[in-house]
């Protein structure tokens, strides 16, 4: 059985009961981005859109700063967050580089190196 909280794996977020509760509003907003009209509404007025979904200040700041690690800390789940970062024009290599504090080129090179 998984014990999400015991023995954390370094640098590896696990989305358990605490995260599910803390991140509910943020993830619910991200889930809404399956609709193109909602993505446009977010682009039109980001602050209002975040407020409409009831994000707390920590979550709003993480969104304002495009800070993926902070979004995860605030309960964001990567499956839903990927819809938000898509609006910012970022793909999984871009956010991989951001989270690991490296350039996209260096991040890609690391992926290629894993083949060896």
């Amino acid at each position: 059985m998984i014990s999400v909280r015991c023995q954390p794996i370094p640098g590896t977020p696990l989305f358990g009961a605490d995260e599910a509760q803390r991140g509910y509003a943020l993830n619910r907003m991200c889930y809404s981005f399956n609709s193109a009209a909602n993505r446009q509404a977010f682009r039109d007025d980001e602050e209002a859109y975040c407020a409409r979904f009831g994000l707390d200040e920590e979550q709003k700041d993480a969104v304002r700063n495009r800070d993926v690690l902070a979004m995860i800390d605030a309960g964001g789940n990567i499956y839903y967050l990927s819809k938000l970062v898509g609006i910012f024009g970022l793909n999984v290599q871009d956010i991989g580089a951001e989270q690991t504090g490296t350039s996209v080129e260096a991040f890609r090179a690391k992926l290629m190196a894993a083949a060896k």
């Binding site: 059985m1 998984i2 009961a17 399956n34 999984v92 894993a114």
Partner: protein
Amino acid sequence: MTSHVPAIGGAIARGVEGEPYWKPFFEGFDKVHAWLDEVRPDTVVVFYNDHGLNFFLDKIPTFAVGAALSYQNADEGWGLPEVPPFPGSPQLSWHIIESLVADEFDVTMCQEMLVDHAFAVPMQLLWPGAGRRPVKTVPIAINTVQHPLPSATRCFKLGAAVARAVESFEADSRVLIVGTGGLSHQLDGERAGFINKQFDLFCMEKLVNEPEALLGYSNRELIERAGTQGIEILMWIAARGAMTHGAQRLHSNYHIPISNTATGVLLLGNPAT
């Protein structure tokens, strides 16, 4: 068993399968296509995981079985083009559901179920081209979004229970079992970009003749070795669980990286008689 990385769908949509980045991956399916031409399945049962298209955190089923006449793909939010709907097989779906519940797998039953890239991309890989796919489908979604996730052992047993259901269906049906996901990858956290070739190859080896070797791992141990999203190996384990008479390897291919992911395809057939 195959990976389902969204970027693969993007490459298909752009028609760039022959470019150097993609070729080693797509070539891995040539032998699968030849085999499918030979065995001609009429129905596909697909173990996959929803990535926040059909299910939100308000209701997350551990195991959900589709029971629809057809399954729509839809906008996932980050730009992958939508593909046409996939025909269902409500008869087989309900047979599987009844059999699973009798077998103590209390699944969620879905008469409407949007299928995301984890279902659609493998279908495009198995039957490429714009022509109508010659198969009906039964999607079975396994939760990988919200912990606790079902264990490897439980997923393996689910596969075996699905096999019992399929075997008691119409005698002349030809059913293909597909598991999609993985292999090792991690999108989130400071360890993003984690790939573990050694563990992937170990899994692909053990899945053939010794799947029990994978069942001792807890989900935490699987995530430690394969990355947060590498837990999608659960779908491969479920598919292998459905091969209750054993398996022989007909083909395999492993390639790093596609997008952030180590990718693999493993084609197993019933044992030679």
